[in-house]
Each structure stands twice: as C-alpha cells, then as structure tokens.
C-alpha cells in the first residue's frame, strides 16, 4: 500500500487527496446539516402539534359550551316545558313537533330524551337515523345539576356511529322550578370530505381523533376507530408510535376542558422529515458536482506545480547527461520560481565548474604533452649524445687492440678488451632502455596481426644468436591472427625467443617450441584500448629446455632491471622481459610464465583473437 502510494505521481496524489477531502467535507456538512435540520423540524413539528392540539381542545371546549347553550334553548321551548309540566297526549304531540323542528335544523341530533324531575325518563324521540337505543344517560344527568349548567357525556359507539349526550335542566319560565331534564344525543358524523378539510387545515398529513379520556370510544370524526396507542391523558407531551404501513407517527393529546373527552392529533414522522430528506437528496446530488469541481481544481493545481517540476526534472536529467544548454523559463515568483532560479544558477555554476575543469585538464594535458616531448627529446639526446663517446671508447679501444696489441702485454690487452666489452654492454643497455621507453609511451593502434609473419621476422632478427648456439626453433603452424600492434608484438616475441636461447646451459642445445592455443575468457587489463572482456583469446607459448625459474621469481623477472644471474653467466640488461610485459599490457594483453628450475620454462603471451573484420582496421603506428 505504502509502495503503491509512493509510486503515484504528485499530480495523482493531489487529486486523490483533494477528492477525498471534498468527499469528507461534503459528507460531514451534509450529515451535520441533515441532522440539524431534522432536529429543528422535529422540534417545530412537535411544537406545532402541541399547539394545534391545544387549540383544537380549546375550540372543542367552546363548541361544547355552545352546544349546551343550544340545547338549553331547545329545552326552553314551551312545548317541552308544557309536556314536562303536565305530560299527556296533547302536550306530547306539541313537544314532539317542537323537537322535530329542531331536528330539521340540526341533522346531528339523533335522539332527544326528556326526564322528569326525579330523573325518570318520560319521553324520547328518535330524530335522525338510529338513536341511542339502550344507552344510559344517568351519569350525564348528574352532571347537569345547576340551573345554568349542562353537561356533555362520554362518546358512545352505536354500530359505526359515535354518539354523545348533551344534558340540560328544563326549568319553568320565570321561576326556577325544576321541571325535569332533557338529553340530546348528537352524532359525530362529519362527512369524509369535511374531515379531510379539517386535517388539511392542520397540515402535515395529520389526522385528528377525538375520544373519551377513559379511552373506550374513539372517532376520526366520521366513525368509530380504535384508540391511538398512546396515553391520551398525557397532555402536552410529544408521543410516538409505530403505525403499520405508515411508520412512526408523532402524536400529541389534549383533554377538552368541560368534557370527558380528549383530542389527539398525529402525523407521520416521515412527513415531517420530508423536507430534510429532500434537502439531503439535493446535497447528495450536489456532492458529485463538488467532487468533480474539486478534482478539476486539484488537477489544475497539481499541473501548476508538477508541470514546471517535470520541466525542471527534464532539465536536470539533461544536465546529468552533460547537456548544459537546457534553459527553463517559468516566469513565476512563487516557490517554483525560486526553485527555477536556484536551478538555473546551479546549472550555470556546474557548467562553469565543468568548463574550468576542462580548461585545467586541457592545460595539464598540454603540460603533460610538453613533458612527454621533453622526455622524448631527452631519450633522443641520450641515444645520440651517449652513443658518440661510446663509439669513441669502443672504436679506439678496438683500434688500440688492433694497431698496438703487439706492443701491449697480456694485462694491457685484457684491460683494452674490458673497455670494449663495457662499451658493448652499455650500447646494449641504451638500446634496451630506449626500446622500453618507446614501448611504454608510443601510441599503439591495434589491428590484425599475422603471428606467423611476426615469428618469421623475429627468427630472422635473431639468426646470429640462433646460429651461434645451434638452437632449434620449432614453430607449430598454423598460427592464427591476433589483435595487436605488429612492431610491438615483434619486439615482444624477439625478446622471448632471445631469452629462450640465452638461458640454456652452455653444454645443451637450445630447443624452442612455439605453439598457439585458443582460449575463452579474459585476456587481461592493459591500459591500451584493447582490454576486451570475454570472447576468444590467443595464447602463444614459447617453451624452452633452459635452466628454468623458481616459482617465487615468476613475477619479479617481468620488472625492469630484475636479473637472476650475473652478466658473466648470462649476459643481458634485465630489460627484455619488462619490455615483454609492458608491450603486452599496452596491447591489452597479458604475459606470464610456467616454469620450475631445471625443467625449462614455458613463457606465454595472450591477446584477443582477431576476427576477419579487423582486416580493414589494420593500421600500424610508425613507432618502433
């Protein structure tokens, strides 16, 4: 995960971060807003519910008073009074007619009952629809005990209908004499349309219920319904219950003063929260938009940062690759602008440093070349100036021996002879030193070299030595071509052959065997250009039957002026093998020896085998 993250580009990271941030912010804000809105709406709704319920209760209280007043007006009818004063067939008819008049006015009155002063029922008339039937009025009669008062009784269910009694006193006109009682059974029978209008007035898909505080009979104003499952006596508290098929309902109840009733208003909680839900939905719709805007912003921002950064990176890579000409123009004054300036300054400094370094190197090279030339001039002077006196020593001591030898005694002749020998070895020494320095310094251009020809020329060069020792030189043809420098290789081979002939006991005939061996692998690390790895290499063996070399000397003998024997026994300058080693190194090859005292030596040199393609490259350096 961590690796995945660190592998992302800054541009992607920024987008992911800012996108995530936008989402988190949007989600937090939405949830907080929704939550706050929900709470507010619930609180408001509760408040409204309670106030509506209270107002309804107040309204009902008023209308119950009006009902009592209305009923009392009816009770004051002369026909009714007359009947109660003197019940009889005639008065009954008058009373019935009067009551029917009322019934025509108010369809809600289902039945009217009249009672005598002893609360004995003396009359009843069913006016609209089914009457109260066997329902008792006793309790409500007790309630209507004062001359100005009346009472409203509990709801009763009769079939689908809900009835309630209104009881008043019937008193004599003018006097206060109690004639009896009258109860009007009124029907709660709003049409569904009227009920819905009432509900709409309250709003929020509310439903209004009325019923007895005792809880037995409840109505939705059109018919009897089950009591809402809440505590209807608990006024002013917001209650809730689950209604099947609708969900949570918010309920408020309020008792109606002066009646045994309570009024209940409920509405679905979902209805209350509907605006909050809509709000949330809208927020949810807005969030992707915000996310898109955020991502676009992040992309712009990242591009503003990463585009100059990638240009800087490109320039840095170019400089790393050695191209100092790359310029970046950002034209910004922010952190990136400063970075660009610092970068430009750094690039300029690096370039300057590089230029200075190159100048210095060039200077040094020129110096070195001068030194080298001086050195070569010095070598030339040595060869020229040292040889002149040497020639004089050599020539005149020889002249002395030839022209005046007969006038010298043996000792005199020996001295002169020693001058000759000394001059000779000094000549050899100078020659070898010059050869060694030439091999060390000369510029070698490598090319395809025919080993057979090199061997032939070296043998020819050594024919005096070969002949004087009667040496047998056996070259096992064919010898393949190698990649090297012909003149240097000739010098190397000549030195090896010369050594092979020289380091043989005087009583033994030198026998040399030269053979080639193709090997796979590394040819060694010379300082000339040819040090190639792998591929085929050619090893040239020069095997002799000489005195051999102890293992501990195998490396030493390749160093300059290293000798294992006196010049008396085996003359030489001690430079030959150093020329061999140096020459091979310069050609990118190696040289070595396998030998044990008394068993002859097997010297070898190794070079990359030449391929046919090297034919065209055959260029020979003029040195040597």
């Amino acid at each position: 995960m961590r690796a995945l993250w660190s592998g992302l580009s800054i541009q992607r990271k920024n987008s992911v971060l800012i996108g995530g941030l936008v989402l988190v912010v949007a989600a937090t804000y939405s949830s907080a807003a929704y939550d706050g809105m929900r709470r507010t709406m619930l609180a408001t709704a509760g408040e409204r519910l309670r106030s509506v319920t209270d107002q309804l209760a107040g309204l009902l209280q008023n209308s119950s008073k009006q009902l009592i007043t209305l009923t009392r007006t009816t009770a004051a009818d002369t026909g009714v009074r007359a009947f109660l004063r003197s019940p009889g067939t005639r008065t009954r008819e008058r009373a019935t007619a009067a009551l029917r008049r009322i019934a025509d006015q108010t369809k809600q009155v289902a039945e009217v009952r009249l009672w005598d002063a002893h609360r004995r029922r003396v009359f009843n008339v069913v006016l609209n629809g089914p009457g109260a039937g066997e329902l008792a009025d006793t309790t409500v009669l007790l309630g209507a005990s004062g001359p100005d008062s009346g009472a409203i009784g509990r709801f009763r269910a009769v079939g689908d209908s809900v009835l309630f009694p209104v009881a008043v006193l019937v008193v004599d006109r003018g006097g206060g004499r109690l004639l009896g009682y009258m109860t009007e059974w009124r029907r709660v029978n709003s049409t569904p349309r009227a009920r819905d209008q009432t509900n709409r007035l309250i709003g929020s898909k509310s439903t209004l219920y009325m019923g007895n505080l005792a809880g037995d009979v409840w109505t939705d104003l059109t018919r009897a319904v089950p009591r809402p499952p809440v505590d209807v006596q608990e006024a002013h508290t917001l209650q809730r219950y689950e209604r099947a098929g609708v969900g949570t309902m918010l309920v408020a109840a309020s008792p109606v003063a002066g009646t045994p009733w309570a009024v209940v208003v409920e509405f679905p909680r979902s209805e209350v929260l509907a605006p909050a839900r809509t709000f949330l939905r809208r927020l949810a719709l807005i969030a992707p938009g915000l996310l898109l805007v955020g991502l676009f912003g992040a992309w712009l921002l990242s591009r503003g940062i990463t585009a100059p950064l990638s240009r800087l990176t490109g320039a840095a890579e170019a400089i790393a690759a050695g191209d100092y000409s790359r310029r970046i123009e950002l034209d910004r004054r922010d952190e990136l602008g400063r970075l660009e300036q610092a970068f430009t300054t750094m690039a300029a400094n690096v370039r300057e440093a590089q230029r200075k370094l190159e100048d210095k190197v060039r200077e040094r090279t020129v110096e070195l070349e001068d030194r080298n030339e001086e050195l070569e001039a010095f070598g030339y002077t040595i060869s020229h100036d040292l040889r002149a006196p040497l020639r004089a020593m050599f020539g005149f001591s020889q002249a002395l021996l030839e022209d005046y030898g007969d006038r010298l005694d043996d000792k005199g002749r020996e001295y002169a002879q020693r001058v000759v020998t000394g001059a000779q070895s000094m000549d050899l020494l100078i020659r070898d030193l010059l050869a060694y320095s030439r091999v060390s310094r000369a510029e070698l251009k490598l090319g395809r070299v025919d080993l057979s020809r090199v061997l032939r020329e070296a043998t020819t060069q050594l024919q005096v030595e070969v002949r004087s020792r009667g040496a047998r030189v056996r070259v096992e043809e064919p010898l393949p071509a190698v990649l090297g420098h012909e003149a240097t290789l000739g010098q190397v081979v000549a030195n090896l052959l010369s050594n092979g002939i020289k380091f043989v006991p005087p009583d033994r005939t030198p026998e040399l065997r030269i053979r080639a061996e193709l090997r796979e692998g590394k040819a060694g690390g010379g300082d000339a250009g040819g040090g190639t790895d792998g591929g085929w290499h050619l090893r040239l063996w020069v095997e002799d039957n000489g005195i051999g070399i102890a293992t501990e000397h195998h490396e030493r003998i390749f160093r300059v002026f290293e000798r294992l024997h006196s010049t008396e026994a085996y003359p030489g300058t001690g430079i030959g093998l150093a020329i061999v080693r140096k020459g091979m190194e310069r050609m990118g090859g190696r040289a070595g020896v396998e030998s044990r005292p008394g068993e002859g030596s097997r010297f070898w040199i190794e070079l990359p085998a030449a391929e046919q393609t090297h034919d065209q490259e055959r260029q020979y350096d003029s040195a040597g």
Partner: protein
Amino acid sequence: MIRNGSTILLVEDSPDDVLLVRRAFQKAGIENPIVAVENGDEALAYLNGTGLYADRQKYPLPTLTLLDLKLPRRSGLEVLAWVRQHSGIKRMPIIVLTSSRDEDDINRAYDLGANSYLVKPVAFDDLLRLVRSLEGYWLSLNVRPDVSAA
C-alpha cells in the same frame, strides 16, 4: 694532387667520429681522399666554393657527401635542403650518416632528398662493414649524375 671527382666530403662535428671513419676507410683500403668539415656553414662554403674552399683544384666537388644531422650552426637537414635547391649541385649524392634513429629525422631527410640514411654503429667492426658497403655500392656500382659548380 687530389683526384678530381673522387673526393668524399665528410660533414661531422665529432673529431672522434672523423678519426674513426677515416680509420675505417683506411682499414677497408679505400683510397678516395676524405675532406672533413665540422659544421653546416663550412659544408655550404665548401660546396659553394667560397672562402677557404674557393680553390676547386684543391677542394673539388665531392663524389659523395656523408652528412651528419646534428651539427653546430647549421644543421645537416638545412645543408641538405640548401643543396637540393641549387641547380648545379642538386643531383649530388648525399648520404646521411648520423647516430639518430629518430623517425622525424629519417622521414625529413628522405623528404629533403637524401639518397640514403645510415646510422653510425657503435662497434668498429660494424662501421668497417658499413664503409665497405658504401664503397661497393656508392663508389663502384652507382652511376653518378652530372654535377657542376654553381
């Protein structure tokens, strides 16, 4: 009396070498007279027949010149260049005899028209062999061109 047309001019600054060359000629039994001059200016004076060498009877044009390169005043290469630019004597055989094996010297000498380039051997026997070869080739076999005084 010096035989006209057989004189050898040896331009050599080292008296030792002059002596050794003379001895080698003598040992080889070559009788050509050898005139040695020790610097480039003198060589020019001789070939030009001026100053000390105005007498052509006494100092005739050489049949062969052995020229050292490293000379005081005027170098051997300058002498060579000078000779090759003078119509009368420009065909004159000139052999460089020097101790330098320097590649530049060798190439420039041939470029300027040296007829041969020889390196002085250290051993006297070698010098003797060289002188005998010279006589056998340049003084006997070689057909000489027409050379007249300027």
